[in-house]
Amino acid sequence: MARLLLLLWSLGPMFWQLYSSLKPSEALSGVGAGGWTLENYRQLLQGDPPFLTYLINSVEVGASSTALTLALAVPCAYALSRLSRRQARALTSLVAAAAAFPAVLLFLALLELARDWHLANQLLALSLPYAGLCLPLVILLLQAAFADIPIVLEEAALIEGMDLWQRLRWILLPLMAPAMASSALLVFLFSWNEYPIALTWLSRTELLTLAPAMARIAGSSVYTIPYGAFAAATVLGSAPLILLMLLFQRQIISGLTQGAIKG
């Protein structure tokens, strides 16, 4: 019973969106009869720009943010896990505080940064603030993973004559693969969902990522009556994430909890 209630609570609103997106507007406003239609999706996909553009933009930003975050976080987490306990603790508590910090409070300064450095309306430049905002959580997560690798493995590699890069490449990173996958997914989710910074950095319609695009759709008069198109947009915007969640739920969940717990 409780399980059913939980499912209804979690999935109900989503199914309502799916249902609405497949109904003609007349049916939704209670005038016309039922029937199913793909009209809402056609309208969305043939819009200007087509809805797919936003999704592609989001994928691009997500991928580059993920790459940048990992490139910065891996060496940092490695070093943190090899520092003396006292130094590491001081630094990690700072990082943990940053992880909880609400990003929206930073939007104004980041906006000025974008203006001064001509980063506005540059899609990939968004990875810079995104990587910065994701770093705290990812550093905590990777640091915990590094700490879980017995130090003798690295010492054995040291005696074998491997330098730092070789130790990372051949010994440590392969063992870190699960934690890196979790981190990558969390960064991707974050940048897919991030709103205030994308909203202030991007103004050209064809460059919008999904989140600001959705808000723009919500605000535009074109769509106010045809809620079916709204619903279709929410379905298309969520579908990639739902897929990601279903495929990689284990990694996402472990990343989420490990980072929060060990930090």
């Binding site: 499912l7 060496p75 930073l106």
Partner: protein, 291 residues
Amino acid sequence: MRWRLWLLMAPAFALLLSIFAAPLLHYLWLSTQVQSVLTGLKPQPIGAQQWLRLWNDGRFWQDSWQTLRFSAASVSLEMVLGLAVALLLNQPLRGRGLLRTFSLLPWALPTTVMALGWRWIFNDPYGPISRMLAGLELPAIPFLSNPALTWMATVGADTWKTMPFVALLLLAGLQTIPTDLYEAAALEEATQWQTLRRITLPLLTPYLLIALLFRLAQAVGVFDLIQVLTGGGPAGSTESLALYAYLNAMRFLDFGYSATLLLGSFAILLILCSTVALMWRWSLRWQGGLR
């Protein structure tokens, strides 16, 4: 060897400092300037004027109250529901993994996407709730036009979205509790309530605190949901601090005051979180210290 470690950390910390520390310092400076349409968008020093303005700004205090009310309501709902869901998911049930994934889905979805969705669900008269009420021949509920109801709608939508995160964190905490403690309690013939009260909750304390602090910080910064779901309305009754600061910068082009508002929000956040942390510690000490 040591210096090499610091070198490895340098790039990450450089970015962290420029994303987190530099903005706050910049706000500190900007809050002593006036930079708006009046000054041709050039900063001009103005001393403590902006802070005086903040102090006398009724909208700031109203938004603070609204933000705190929103945070308190949705975080407490999330903690209670999240604990219940975590306890449910911690039971050896069939299909637990799948249930866990499904219940986490709302958390993974973009806030703006679901805020739009909620707008449709709360729609009067075409949303499912209104229709259901109409079907039962009950009066419609104007969720998004009555201030009190709109507030509740934002809390509901936020709880829907972030409760899974709390549940998941607490579930991870529950799974660290050794099962032999429960077996020992069962041998003592403890009731379920006693077991929860005497074993589960005390051992879950650190996780509860982490979830609480993290969620409080995020809730005080609520922005996406409000902007898309209600736009701060009706009549500013759901406007949050972050939204007000955003409007000042982006609509009124009053950057100096926006920076002051952001710092004000940060101060409120800091006070709130440290108060909670301190109260938590005191209550633990008062109970005889669990840690």
